[in-house]
Amino acid sequence: MEVGQMQGRLVDYTKSLFMEGFLDGQFLQLQQLQDESNPDFVVEVVSLFFDDSEKLLNDLTMALDQPNVDFKKVDAHVHQLKGSSSSIGAQRVKNGCIAFRNFCEEQNIEACLRCLQQVKQEYYLVKNKLEALFRLEQQIVAAGGSIPMMEMGF
């Protein structure tokens, strides 16, 4: 595949991610921070996010499976997840977390479970999307092209 074509696809893809609300400005800030000294910064942070989130999601699933749900603990977990997701700009995960926390305050187990499912779903979605994005970037780099900077389209 032509490098230019791939670059165009990357741009389109990234744009679509923004348009569909998977990512927000924070992700752009991350990309801004990436430079020669930290060439893989974004990937690094995002994979950190993946690890952290997966751990948190597991903890959450465990916590909600308990007969007596410790909502404080759940809330703390969700808070953490919210913090990290907002830091990489995974907007939809973050929004899910906000709803989740509301239900946590209400101590509504069913809604919490639903929210957990939703957050999980969003998380996997964004994970797939980001992985696809990185794959595309890697392909571009492998083909010898440079990764085009995002322009603010929204």
Binding site: G25, Q29, F41, G83, S87, M149
Partner: protein
Amino acid sequence: MAEKSFKTSPRSFEGSPILVSPIGTPLRKVFNRISGFASSWGRRTAPRGRRIFHRDVEQEEFQYASTHCLSSYYSVFVARLAIMVMLAILIGLLTILTWHFTRIYTTKSLNTLTFGLRYELLQRPILRMWNILNSTSEITTAQVKLSEYVIRRYIKPSNQAEQVELYQMMKDITWALFASRKALNAITINYRNGFVQAFHRDHRSNNTFYIYSDLANYSIGASESYDSKMPSSRHGWNDQFIHGNVSATWYREPLDPITGEKTGKALPIPPDDLINIAGPSQVPDGVASWHVAVSKYTDSPLLSAALPVWDPSNTSIVAVVGVTTALYSVGQLMKELVEAHSGYIYLTSQEGYLLATSTNAPLLKNTTKGPKLMMAVDSEDNVIRMGAQWLEKAYGNKFPPGHVVHVEKANLGSQHYYIDSFFLNLKRLPMVGVIIIPRKYIMGKVKERALKTLIILISASVCILVIGCVCILILTNGVSKEMKLRAELISHLDARRRAEASSNYKSQFLANMSHELRTPMAAVIGLLDILICDDCLTNEQYAMVSQIRKCSTALLRLLNNILDLSKVESGKLVLEEAEFDLGRELEGLVDMFSVQCINHNVETVLDLSDDIPKLVRGDSARVVQVFANLISNSIKFTTSGHVILRGWCENPNVSSDSGKFSPDQKKPLSALKTKLKQHGNYMKKDSKRDNKMILWFEVDDTGLGIDPSKWESVFESFEQADPSTTRTHGGTGLGLCIVRTLVNKMGGEIKVVKKNGPGTLVRLYLLLSTPADGTEQHGQMNFAKHSVAVILALHGSMGRLIMSQWLSRNDVPTLEASEWNELTQILHELFRARTRNCGFDTHYALGEPLRSKIHSLQGMRNPVYVIVVDLGLLDLSTDIWKEQLNFLDKFSGQVKFAWMLNHDTSNAVKMELRRKGHILMVNKPLYKAKMLHILEAVLKERYVELQKRSPNGSKGTAKEGDSHECLEIDSTHFETCSSDDSDNSEMSGANSVSSLQTGELPREGSVKSSPSNCQTLKNCLVEYTRLDAKCENSNSPEQPSVSSSAKDRDNSYTSKAANGQKSLEGLRILLAEDTPVLQRVATIMLEKLGATVNAVGDGLQAVDALNCLLDGEEHRRESSFRERRNRFETEICDSPPYDLILMDCQMPKMDGYEATKAIRKSEAGTGWHIPIVALTAHAMSSDEAKCLEVGMDAYLTKPIDYKLMVSTILSLTKRSA
């Protein structure tokens, strides 16, 4: 009667058929409602009316509501009617009952009374009758007994003489009896032999007669013969005997009525002519007989009784005794009775013959056969006749037993009568008494009275009814009117509540929305900043992006405005209570705006009176916002002239500032003052306690002005004086509204005041409290004793005027010059002796007053001249300014120059000035504080110079250069700050944000450590003088680093400088963050900015990391100064203290709050204060408060905003540096 009253009410009901008939079918419903309605009139109408108007509010159901209104009107009407009818019924019943009872009882009692009366009336004649009968019978019996006795003695008369003697005896006896009874009419004795003896009394002529028959005709023998025949034919004896004696002659001789002596001659009269002699025929069966007789000579019937006189053997009748009594006396009695009590009485025999009446009507009728008894029905008296006829008709022959009849209402003729009859049952002579009394006589009055009473009652009740109806009408009218008003009031209240609620919802919505909008806006701006920092933009793109950035900032500002407004409206705005330096804030503000104004050719002047307290308590950000809005507004509409911000302290006695008002301007002010005096006095009263002060401010411009009709409305939301200005000037019209709400919230008022000349004058007062001890700490220097003189060579006439006035108030002689030539003239005049070779001496003719001033200056002993020169006076467009400088240099020995720089003064000029040794440079505009500092600086310098005159001269200048730099840096700092804001006319939002940031920082007291991007010149000057005093032994090592960092920061703000991203160069930052992602992001961000970052995972680690450092610090403190000074070059810190800590608030093990507390605790002994910045995802102000409470210095929200983080870090590290 009752019917009548009932009749009236339906009539009145039907009297208004037009009104009633529309109810038609729902009439029943309405009545049902009314039945409940009447019981609780007041309670029910109110909610009903409310319901109706409640519907009224809803427009859709307006139609329905109006019909409801109509029906309620009808129901009210019907209710009224019902009440009236009830009243009518009540009154009618009352009337009827009253009337009925009075009538019934009176009638009853009257009836019993009359009955008694009638009975009595009738009883008395009957008794009399009875008496008469009795006496008659007694007399008769007595006569009989005496006769029997006498006759027994002479039973067998032997001869004529004895016979005569017997008769004489009988005559005497009879006379005795007759004389004893005056009422007797006659006593007769009829012997068997036909001899008659009789006494007769004529009542009319009052004569008494003795009547006897011819004695010769009667013999005893005859009597004997008769005796023998006796048993065989008794009947035949009497009549035959009498008739047989028709030829017998009777003699009448008149007697003296008393003595019985013979008074006249006996006259013969035919028998039976005069009186009725009772003969044996009347006692046929030998018992007493009674009958009523009539005589020719009396007009009343006579009652005669007859008794036989038996012989001693009791076998034969010897003689018959008859007694006759006139019934005349009974009639007399009746007449008397009737005279006393009206009416009619009559007595009849059982057969109906009249015996006696109370009238004078004759009782006898004359027939051919002589007078005969009359039947009652034939009486000549009408009443009696008719009464008898009525009785006959009513009862016929079947009288009730005992003949007793009581009739109360007999209609005789045209009148009603009582008729009562009694039966007197005598054995031989039954009699009936009848009394007829006209009803009128007894009941007439009663009836009449009853009728009158009835009429009066009816009329009274009708009157009461009418009055009652009117009263009800009035009452219900009033009530219904009140009800209507109340309902209206309630509906209004309801509507108002709704309106308020909806307004509240709106505010709430706005607050929420603008909060939501702010977040994306912040993102947009942040991303734009990143974009601007990017290198790969073309110039065109860069311009566009910066344009977008400006627009976004403007939009954000607008959002902030709306948020402010809605916050205030929803009552969420809470004003801070913190001490702040009012003068300094306002000076900063004026500095900022002056930059903007210079481009507009508008002069910005700050004119605060000296009595304004330095420190006040209040919300500095909001105060600044008020003035920023007002000033920016003024600037917006002012194209040339000036904008003055005046301030003075409320003092009712002294009008401190009014000196510069022209008289007609003063009037409204004084009027306002007097108007507010009471208020002010009241304020003053409790200001004694609370230390509250009324601070007056005016913002005066020479712009377009506002139409007087809009003076009130400009303070409304979204109002602009002239809608067309939106196009030319922009703006949303929110600014003034915010101002007013803020001012009101601070206990003040704002209004537009009439101004002399063009432009607008906005006057406001604020109620601010002053700290208890902070009274009038002006530290005013006494310039007079230093003999300072000031020459003001400034462009702006207003600023110059105000400044010179202030200076002269403080006993500093002042000269003014508005342009270069004037200045040279003054200088020339002042230093004539020494400046002979002045090249620019153009010989201006100075005004006389100026000249005299100059002369007075020359008279001063050893004066210090300070010349404040506006750089604009120099001709900068060409190179002439250098020559001008050279000219001024000639005076540098005698005078001190202070230069007023423009914000855009080029560096070349500055360098040149510095080279010439002009070290005092301040930015425009000139205001009190700056002037004060200039003077202080000059005096200090002079003092220093005097102290160290000879040896340190050269060093002094070097140092001064240093300090000058400091001064200048600070000015540029101002400049950038204001230029950052100057790109938009309304800068309240940004300003409030920035000052809020200042507000957050704890004021640690030391002048040196107080940072803030609004740092004022004064601090800097103080610093400068302090450094000065500290003298030359050490050059402050921090100074360069600070300045450079400040510069870096400025650059990062304003320009696309190449080194902008390294603004945090050399800073050590401890990052405590548990989320790995965030930790990484923040680390990279900070490192990109050049900072050294140590990241730890939780609070405990952070505390540990710091503690070991601080432990080490204790013994390294001595060297730390040097280390820090050298760290630029060497970077040899094995474990240096951190310059800053970024602390996440929510962390495992130990959260940020706890960690901060621990750190602050451990710091306590060391005197260190490491700035701690909180990182939190909570965006609530309560979290902010919590952060600050535990000892953190600032507060950042996640996700981290790049720019905000940099500025926060810089402001904190700069202070500690």
